[in-house]
Subunit: 312 residues, 2 copies
């Protein structure tokens, strides 16, 4: 049993409840070179759900050639039929959507870029061309009764272009929502954002008519800024936060050992602030310790390390 929680002192300026969008099984594992067996992935997702996470991005229906780690999507999804959580999947295009729909999946996500350079590097398209590619994906997913999340990457900095202008991010955001995306996840893919920049983007999106309730934030901890940026987003009304159990993953373009905000570090802060998440931090930490053992290296999450160390 791993246990330990901070003292709870709420801040009235913050929301009462936050929905954590767990991305470990997809965004976390996709950068792991050694392929994790589908049975382990299924067990990982089951344990995450048992720890109280209600939204767990399960896999990606990308072409197996591009992400061999997630080539087992057809094998994995049927193993998760009894998992008591929403299990969205990433679909890069209509072919991926077809594969997801064939398995009965109705909750999907598309992955767009705020910058031309990353659209070219990641999708081999211009931003406009990528949005054209997503249009029928979004439309058909909604016709099938599903919901669509739009990821928008490189919202703060881009490794080729440097700082990304706020109005450029607002423009692409509006277009993704106009396509029919239900939710938009703003990604700091290379982890360079700081709180003033986060506040500026969220303020600009609000002025452009985007309700905070349709936004999620997706921060990377490359420079140790993910949690401060998340706190800033909560102050601006955002209530959906992406995180990765144990801090798994990271953008291969970020050239750094650290990637996604660790779900445990986030839960520690939210617990301390009295913000409900439904997550049992001890069960979640035990899950990340188990997964780290499978991957053969310690979790980069500070909270996982601290709580797991107390255990021994």
């Amino acid at each position: 049993m791993i246990s330990g929680l901070p003292m709870t002192v709420p801040d009235p300026a913050l929301p009462d409840r936050v929905r954590i969008h767990e991305v470990g099984p997809r965004d976390g594992l996709q950068n792991e070179k050694a392929v994790v067996p589908a049975e382990i992935k299924a067990e990982f997702i089951r344990r995450l759900a048992a720890s109280g996470l209600s939204v767990i991005e399960a896999t990606s229906f990308v072409h197996p050639k591009w992400v061999p780690q997630l080539a087992d999507a057809e094998q994995l999804m049927p193993m998760l039929a009894d998992v008591p959580a929403r299990l969205p999947v990433l679909v890069p295009n209509e072919r991926g959507l077809d594969r997801a729909l064939a398995l009965g999946v109705r909750e999907v996500a598309v992955f767009a870029s705020a910058t031309e350079s990353f659209a070219k590097a990641n999708l081999n398209r211009t931003v406009d061309e990528s949005l054209e590619m997503f249009a029928p994906v979004v439309a058909r997913a909604r016709e099938a009764g599903g919901s669509v999340r739009g990821y928008l990457s490189m919202c703060f900095g881009d490794p080729w272009e440097g700082a990304v202008p706020v109005d450029q991010v607002v423009r692409v955001s509006r277009r993704l929502l106009d396509l029919g995306c239900d939710e938009l996840s703003l990604g700091d893919t290379i982890g360079v954002a700081t709180p003033g920049h986060v506040a500026a983007l969220l303020t600009a999106l609000g002025e452009a008519g985007v309700p905070a309730g349709r936004l999620a934030v997706h921060f990377h901890d490359t420079y140790g800024q993910a949690l401060s940026n998340t706190l800033t987003a909560l102050r601006h009304g955002v209530t959906t936060v992406d995180a990765s159990a144990g801090g798994l993953g990271g953008c291969p373009y970020a050239k750094s050992a650290t990637g996604n905000l660790a779900t445990e570090d986030l839960v520690w802060m939210l617990e301390g602030l009295g913000i409900a998440t439904g997550v049992d931090l001890g069960l979640l930490t035990a899950t990340s310790v188990w997964m780290a053992a499978h991957l053969g290296r310690p979790s980069p999450s500070r909270t996982v390390r601290a709580l797991a160390h107390q255990e021994h």
Copy 2:
């Protein structure tokens, strides 16, 4: 040359300038088992000053038996005569003060506890007895024309007592200031604090008549919370922040690999917020990479790792 800075987007609710109180050479190194030669320590401090840090806690005049790493204080201080920075030192008692004064040091710090358990464990005294021990230290340092910083540890949680009541911290804080301490550094020694708790303590201190200008904050990153807590303190008017170059150090009672807030992670956030520190992040990071090589293990600072990795 290590380079890389975030885009600058100020937040008008935050201060224009922050003074970083660098604790790496003292608080960081004191937990290192392998003794670092005085020449390396002097070079470390010279490099920190050259990176723009204006206050660098240099060593401790504690009994050599308790902290063998810092037993060379008499050897070290004369080597730093030409360093263009304030170089305060820790003095545990009158004997330590005598040693510091004999070397011409006029800026000292005492180390108190907000909890009885840690006072007993660290000082082998009650809180009252430790304050009685500090009274002549503070008085004599000031008579000698010096200034005194009071560290107050375990301000949020204590490994034996759990959550520490805010009014208990306020009471000991007032007494340290009444003794004559010029500045009070509020320590989250085991790293458990979260932003609501930080806000509550700073609000209570303000209500007790303690000006924010006499406070510093000293957060540990054990659970990844140090920077969010620092941001919260800045929102409450605090403008002096303790940090350790490269994230060196940590409390031995915290049972974790991570300790002090890394100065580089702090500077990244402050640079992004347009808050002046005087620090050149590239020079500072190069210093931490150099020190990490001497210590034989990588820096735990996310920013140091990210910037150093870009270098290669």
